[in-house]
C-alpha cells in the first residue's frame, strides 16, 4: 500500500514546508524558553561550583548570601577554622551593581575575595587570559561576558580598577557576569556612603557630648574610625576536610557558632527552588501557553487541509478505503508537519536565537528528546479533530444528488 500522506505532502510540499517553517519558529521559541530555564539553573549551579566551597556559613536564620541579605563579622572565619573537619574558611562579599567603563556600564556581581590565591574558596578556579589578583587593592578579574578586556580601567563606586585577568562562565544566579576584586575593596564598596553623608555624620558625632568628652582624648577619633569602616562580610565559604561529612560539619557550625550553614545540596535547593522559582514558574507558564498555541495552530492547519480534501475523502471512502487508512493519512500528515516544525525550531533555537539571546541558553539533549515527543503527541492530539471530521464524511457526497 502506498503512503497517501507522503504523496499528499510531496504533492503540496511547498505549502507543507512553509507551514512547517511557521510552526518551527513557534517551536523554536518554545525550545528557547526551555533553554533559558535550563540556563538559569545552570547559572545557579555554576555560581556554586565556581565558589569552590562545600559549606556556606551565613547570618543565623537567613537564606544568604544569594537569596537573602546576610551579614556576619569578618573575623568569624577564625573561629570556623577551629571546628573539626574545616579545611579552609574564607570571607566573601557579593554586591550586584552597574560597573562603568568609559561611557558604558555593565550589570555585574562584584565578588570580594579574601587574600590568598587560586584554590581558596571564592576565587575564580581558572582564567582564560591574564593573571589572578596579586595586590590588595584596585585589581579585578572579570568574566569575559562583561565585555571587558585585559588592561581595561573600570569604575566601581568611587574607585577605579584594572582588569588583570579574564575568566569564563562565572555568573550570578541571575546570569550577571562576576567581577572579582579584593575583599577589602568590596567591603568598602558595599557600605560606602557619599562624601556629604560622611561629613554630616562626623559633624553630628563630634557634636554629641557622649562621644566627644573633654576628659577622654581619642574617643571621638575611635568612634569616627569605627563608623567609616565595614567589618562585615556576607558569608564565609568553607571547604571540608576529606573524611568529614558536609552535613556533620555544618551541624557543628550551627550548634557551636550560632550561625546558619548550608551544604551544597541545601544551597542548590535555595537557588533553584526559591531564588529562581518565580522565573521558572513564569517560563513554565510560557511553555504551557506556547504548547497550547502550537497545538491550536497544528489543529487548525490539519483541519483546514482536511476540509480541502473532503471530496477526495468521500471518494476514497466510497471506493472502499478503510477509516483507519484515512485516519492514518491525516495523523501522519500532522506528525510530518510537527517533525518539519521541530527540525526548523531546533535549528532556529540553536543557531539563531541562543547566540543573540542576552541570557545563557542551555539546550540539553534530553530536553530535545522530550520536546520532540511533546511535539509528536501534540500533533497526534491536534489531528483528532480533523480525523473526526474526515470519518464523518458521507461517501454519498461523492455521488452528489
Amino acid at each position: 500500500m502506498i503512503s497517501l500522506a507522503g504523496r499528499d505532502i510531496m504533492h503540496a510540499w511547498g505549502k507543507f514546508v512553509f507551514t512547517g517553517v511557521g510552526l518551527g519558529l513557534l517551536i523554536g521559541v518554545t525550545l528557547s524558553m526551555a533553554g533559558i530555564y535550563r540556563g538559569m539553573v545552570d547559572d545557579a549551579k555554576a555560581l556554586l561550583d565556581n565558589s569552590g566551597a562545600d559549606l556556606w556559613v551565613v547570618q543565623k536564620d537567613t537564606l544568604g548570601p544569594y537569596a537573602e541579605p546576610s551579614s556576619i563579622y569578618e573575623d568569624t572565619w577564625h573561629g570556623l577554622r577551629s571546628i573539626p573537619g574545616v579545611a579552609q574558611a574564607a570571607n566573601v562579599t557579593y554586591l550586584t551593581m552597574q560597573v562603568r567603563k568609559d561611557q558604558r556600564d555593565v550589570r555585574a556581581m562584584i565578588t570580594g575575595v579574601s587574600a590568598g590565591g587560586p584554590g581558596k574558596p571564592g576565587w575564580p578556579p581558572y582564567l582564560v587570559a591574564g593573571r589572578h589578583i596579586t595586590r590588595s587593592h584596585y585589581e579585578a578579574v572579570a568574566d569575559i561576558a562583561t565585555g571587558f578586556a585585559l588592561g581595561d580601567r573600570i569604575q566601581i563606586r568611587r574607585n577605579r580598577y584594572t582588569v588583570v585577568g579574564l575568566t569564563r562562565r562565572m555568573v550570578s544566579s541571575g546570569g550577571d557576569p562576576i567581577i572579582f576584586i579584593p575583599l577589602k575593596d568590596a567591603q568598602e564598596a558595599q557600605f560606602l556612603k557619599d562624601n556629604d553623608v560622611i561629613l554630616q555624620q562626623r559633624k553630628r558625632t563630634g557634636e554629641n557630648p557622649a562621644f566627644n568628652r573633654p576628659g577622654t582624648p581619642g574617643l571621638l577619633d575611635a568612634i569616627i574610625a569605627s563608623q567609616s569602616t565595614n567589618p562585615y562580610v556576607n558569608a564565609v565559604l568553607v571547604k571540608v576536610k576529606d573524611g568529614y561529612g558536609d552535613e556533620a560539619v555544618a551541624e557543628s557550625i550551627r550548634r557551636w557558632k550560632r550561625l546558619t550553614a548550608y551544604t551544597r545540596s541545601q544551597m542548590e535547593e535555595i537557588l533553584v527552588g526559591k531564588l529562581i522559582a518565580t522565573s521558572s514558574k513564569q517560563i513554565g507558564m510560557f511553555l504551557v501557553i506556547l504548547s497550547i498555541v502550537s497545538a491550536a495552530i497544528v489543529a487548525f492547519i490539519i483541519y483546514t487541509l482536511t476540509l480541502g480534501k473532503i471530496r477526495e475523502i468521500a471518494v476514497l471512502k466510497l471506493i472502499g478505503t478503510r477509516n483507519r487508512t484515512i485516519a492514518a493519512m491525516i495523523m501522519q500528515q500532522a506528525i510530518a508537519l510537527g517533525m518539519i516544525g521541530f527540525v526548523v525550531g531546533k535549528i532556529t533555537a540553536t543557531l539563531l536565537m541562543a547566540p543573540i539571546f542576552p541570557k545563557y541558553v542551555l539546550f540539553e539533549p534530553l530536553d530535545s528528546v522530550r520536546g520532540f515527543a511533546a511535539v509528536v503527541v501534540i500533533c497526534i492530539l491536534s489531528s483528532l479533530i480533523a480525523i473526526r471530521v474526515a470519518l464523518k464524511v458521507d461517501p454519498a457526497e461523492a455521488i452528489g444528488g
Binding site: M1, I2, L4, R7, D8, M10, H11, A12, R311, E312, V315, L316, K317, L318, I319, G320, T321, R322, T325, D394, P395, A396, A398, I399, G400, G401
Partner: protein, 236 residues
C-alpha cells in the same frame, strides 16, 4: 455461483418518519445483464441519485431485494457484512467529475483500488497500466491528474472504476463535462469494457447526445422506473 449482472426487485427508500416522510423510491425494478450498458434517465428529484446510492451500498434501502449474479446482497436488510469491501470489490463508480485523487499520479489513481484490496503494489500497477493501455491513456501514466485534459481524466476515472473487475459499474453523468465527440468516445469505451469484462453498467444521464446509444433505457419518475427499448445506435 456467479456474481455477474444485477437484479433489483421492489426497491423502496423512505427518508424521514411520520408526516414528514418522503418516499424517494416507491418500488424500483431493474435488471442489467453482464456486458450490458443501460441508461437511467429522469428529471431532477425523480430518485436517480437515491437509486444510485442504494445500488452503490452507500445508503440502505427501506425494503426490496438486490441480487448480484446469484448472490443476494439486500433482502429487506443487507445480506453482506462488509459494505466497504462490497463497494471496493463488486461495484465500480464513475462520477460526473472524474474526482481523481490529486496527489496520486495516473497509475496510482487506478492502482489504488487493488492496493486497498490487498494486492501487492507491483501487481496493482501492472493491472492499472494494462487498463490505461486499453483506454489509450497509458502515455500519461506518470502524469498528475491536473496535467490531463477532461477526456483523459474521465478515461482514467473509467479505468479506476474497472480495475477491480467489478460485476457492476455505476456511472453518474459520466459525460456531462465532455463535448459530443468525447462523450460518445466514453460511451464507446464503456460498451467495449462491458463486453470485454462482462460488466453490467448503469449510466445515469441527462445527456441527449448519448441517450440514443443505449439499447435499453430505464426512465425514473417519482421513484418508479419504467423500462423502454433504446435505439442502440453506434456512433463511430
Amino acid at each position: 455461483m456467479t456474481d455477474k449482472g444485477i437484479l433489483i426487485k421492489g426497491l423502496k427508500k423512505r427518508y424521514g418518519k411520520g408526516d414528514t416522510a418522503v418516499d424517494a423510491l416507491k418500488g424500483v425494478d431493474m435488471q442489467v445483464s453482464p456486458g450490458e450498458v443501460v441508461g437511467l434517465i429522469g428529471p431532477s428529484g425523480s430518485g436517480k441519485s437515491t437509486l444510485l446510492k442504494c445500488l452503490g451500498a452507500v445508503i440502505e434501502p427501506t425494503e426490496g431485494r438486490m441480487t448480484l449474479g446469484n448472490k443476494v446482497i439486500y433482502d429487506n436488510g443487507w445480506k453482506v457484512n462488509d459494505l466497504r469491501a462490497l463497494r471496493r470489490d463488486k461495484i465500480g463508480f464513475i462520477f460526473q467529475a472524474p474526482y481523481l485523487i490529486p496527489f496520486l499520479d495516473v497509475t496510482d489513481n487506478v492502482a489504488l483500488l487493488p492496493m486497498l484490496a490487498g494486492k501487492p503494489n507491483a501487481d496493482s500497477r501492472k493491472l492499472a497500466v494494462e487498463l490505461l493501455q486499453a483506454l489509450d491513456v497509458a502515455h500519461r501514466a506518470k502524469a498528475m491528474p491536473s496535467e490531463l485534459s477532461g477526456g483523459e481524466q474521465q478515461r482514467v476515472a473509467i479505468a479506476r472504476g474497472l480495475v477491480n473487475r467489478p460485476p457492476v459499474i455505476l456511472a453518474d453523468e459520466p459525460t456531462a463535462p465532455l463535448d459530443s465527440e468525447r462523450a460518445l468516445a466514453v460511451i464507446r469505451i464503456l460498451n467495449h469494457m462491458a463486453h470485454q469484462y462482462e460488466t453490467a453498467i448503469i449510466v445515469v444521464t441527462h445527456d441527449e447526445k448519448i441517450i440514443p446509444t443505449f439499447k435499453r433505457i430505464y426512465h425514473i419518475r417519482d421513484g418508479v422506473t419504467y423500462e423502454e427499448a433504446g435505439e442502440g445506435r453506434v456512433f463511430e
